[in-house]
Symmetry: C3
Amino acid sequence: MADPRFFRVAGPFTVAEIARRSGAAVAGAGEAQRILRDVAPLDAAGPDDLTFLDNRKYVTAFRETRAGAAFVQSALAAEAPPGMTLLVTEQPYRAYALAAQAFYPESPPAPGIAASAAIDPTARLGDGAAIEAYAVIGAQVEIGKRCRIGANSVIGPGCVLGDDVRVGANVSISHSLVGARVRLYPGVRLGQDGFGFAMDPAGFVKVPQLGRVIIEDDVEIGANTTIDRGAGPDTVIGAGTMIDNLVQIGHNVQVGRGCVLIAQSGIAGSTRLGDHVIIAAQGGVTGHLTIGSGARIGAQAGVMRDVAPGESVVGAPAVPVKEFFRQVATVQRLSRKKGG
Amino acid sequence: MADPRFFRVAGPFTVAEIARRSGAAVAGAGEAQRILRDVAPLDAAGPDDLTFLDNRKYVTAFRETRAGAAFVQSALAAEAPPGMTLLVTEQPYRAYALAAQAFYPESPPAPGIAASAAIDPTARLGDGAAIEAYAVIGAQVEIGKRCRIGANSVIGPGCVLGDDVRVGANVSISHSLVGARVRLYPGVRLGQDGFGFAMDPAGFVKVPQLGRVIIEDDVEIGANTTIDRGAGPDTVIGAGTMIDNLVQIGHNVQVGRGCVLIAQSGIAGSTRLGDHVIIAAQGGVTGHLTIGSGARIGAQAGVMRDVAPGESVVGAPAVPVKEFFRQVATVQRLSRKKGG
Amino acid sequence: MADPRFFRVAGPFTVAEIARRSGAAVAGAGEAQRILRDVAPLDAAGPDDLTFLDNRKYVTAFRETRAGAAFVQSALAAEAPPGMTLLVTEQPYRAYALAAQAFYPESPPAPGIAASAAIDPTARLGDGAAIEAYAVIGAQVEIGKRCRIGANSVIGPGCVLGDDVRVGANVSISHSLVGARVRLYPGVRLGQDGFGFAMDPAGFVKVPQLGRVIIEDDVEIGANTTIDRGAGPDTVIGAGTMIDNLVQIGHNVQVGRGCVLIAQSGIAGSTRLGDHVIIAAQGGVTGHLTIGSGARIGAQAGVMRDVAPGESVVGAPAVPVKEFFRQVATVQRLSRKKGG
């Protein structure tokens, strides 16, 4: 089970209740009234635990698991060990997520303002806000209901946070308007000056960065990720977008709704992403480009041109995935020939 | 206009005054006494606003802008909409920077030492210094005049900061000597141990890191960028160099004057850069190399050899730009042939 | 010598004593009783200083150094300037590390709890712990003997740190168990939620992250590096592993013992590394892979498949080193031919 130092388990739940919450169908050694006390990974699960199989790589572990029940796709149900109760769904990971939320419901922040927090008298805090030790909240800041501001975080003058925002420890925010239910993990930096200066024989001329960062509702931003404010236009992160750790987003970038930006990827200034764009780890997109909705940018891809909606690209310079792997195969073939 | 929550506009200014400050020539529907009240992007500007065109990609927006005046190169002046006052210059972005500085002059930090700042009695603070809440300033630290030390930042024992240095929130500095007018954005880490250890069958032997970080005047260092101190020699960042977010600079690196290091790039230990070197986003330079003055390292380039002054390289391993694109074209041609 | 603002030198030591501590053999103008007062780089060393030559690139500087003594490999001893005392060893860098540790022994943290530290009454602190200003230590935290917790760092509820752990400034830790003698440099983020959510037409479903971060003994973690906690299994960093700055380690990753992860590299979720694996700068490994013990991943490599023990790979997609350079040579040859 999850370490009680850090997590408290709810439940137990019947298989029937879990099926109801997750939309899965009970099968196999299906006992709708079977009691499930926890979720667990395949290799750690016991008879009272619920697990899942989502990746064929783990079929062997699935065959050997001692779990009492598992979410599994119908195509893999036959691999289940005897006696396991199956919860069949075509989206086992999604179903597991819903079940795990039932067993480990997120506790709301404990309301309360640490005596040591430095809160400007002109700042407004919504009901139920939790402000932790040594948080610094500037003039005219507006913080919504039930927000949590982590210890040693700094929210600069004029910033606005919607309801139910969770700001981790050691976060810095300035020049930003943040929507509801946004999560900022530790070390996030929002709203600092973009990298804007004009070249000049006599040195660089700094360009005042006069825009903001706009974070729409339900966005998550990973640890130590940096998002610069706009230079005149705003930098915008669309609703429901998920951003991983150590991601860089330059000034004036506009990210659409429901995008996924994976760790260490970067987007240079003034580029626009449509909705549901995925940029894989360490991928980079140069400035002033347009990336269409549903486009997928592969890991370490270097995107130097616009990408059409729905297109998948990889490589540096990035090309369509099929072309990339054809190029890779060609180079391998020719170099082997050379070698031989 | 810029959000008054975060910015206060100065002015208004006449076209003549802006022309004087920026060195541009009044043309088009030129009315030297026309009043300009703000700067704005092409698509947001109105009749009282000043804008600029610096990138051909935005010529259409330029044709359609409602801006009263714009900086533009002579070659593109003909694209201006009727009635616009033109401020003609071959460096529109530079001219805009100077105009924007006039409309949005940077306010000096409000002097004052937060009661909550933890300042060692042996530290010395220059006149007009602003020390924000929960800043921690160690023994024997020297801080120049009019410096701003952001909330929750930590300046370790013995560090020296010149005049007019601006340290953002949540910054950590140790073992560093910082020049005048340097800006450190939130989350910068200066002066921690370099990655120095000797391999040994019995485990790694840590090599004491006995150098410093030297930041010369007028350097900017972006959010969450890390610069390790030297191992014996110092790590040095030359005057006027601009460093973006999430950049890594290893121990003993020497960066010349006026260099530009773009987001997520990295320089491994003991490499030396000349002056005015540009490393584009996610570019990497291995250790113990010499990169000549004026060299340009492309985005995601992997530099494994010295680069001559003025040379432009890209790719991994990095090669001269022309050779890189010839290689790309060759591989595309051969793989298509293969496919066909 | 090292800047006395930041470092205090011990000694002096005789050549004999240094030879004894480093296992080197005295040779050249060998005077076992010669007094050495400090260590210094080749170009800065004087007659009372000890230096080292570890890289052929610096043979010229070695010939010209004024150092009184140097660690050097026997093969390069002949390059020494006249009058230099030689300390011959096949591991000059390791020998230098041991000598530098003698001249600059690390001072233990000065015990003491800053009055401003926010320590939960249920937290337990070992003898000799040093807790700096504005550190925040949560409920049920256990901190070992002689630990140092840097200023403005935040240690979340339930975390456990072993003896002699050093936590730098502005660090955030949650959901983590940390072994003895671990060093966390400024800005490290341990234990935040992994990047776990299930795709769903109606938006993303967050997957509760129910694992921990386990850091074994003698691990170093560089500035602004991020390590997410496990999703159910733990994220584990094996004993003696060295992690550089700005590295990303995803949930459920298992890193073996004595690995080296260089700056800006990243490991995606659920990948397992054996022991003594090296990932060079900006290298990336995708998720759910197995990297065998002793494998070497080159700089900027993009690893998309399992890597066998002892194998060296580079390129994106990564291939064995010899194959990579054969591919590079092939493409260069063909593109030149094309060009010619």
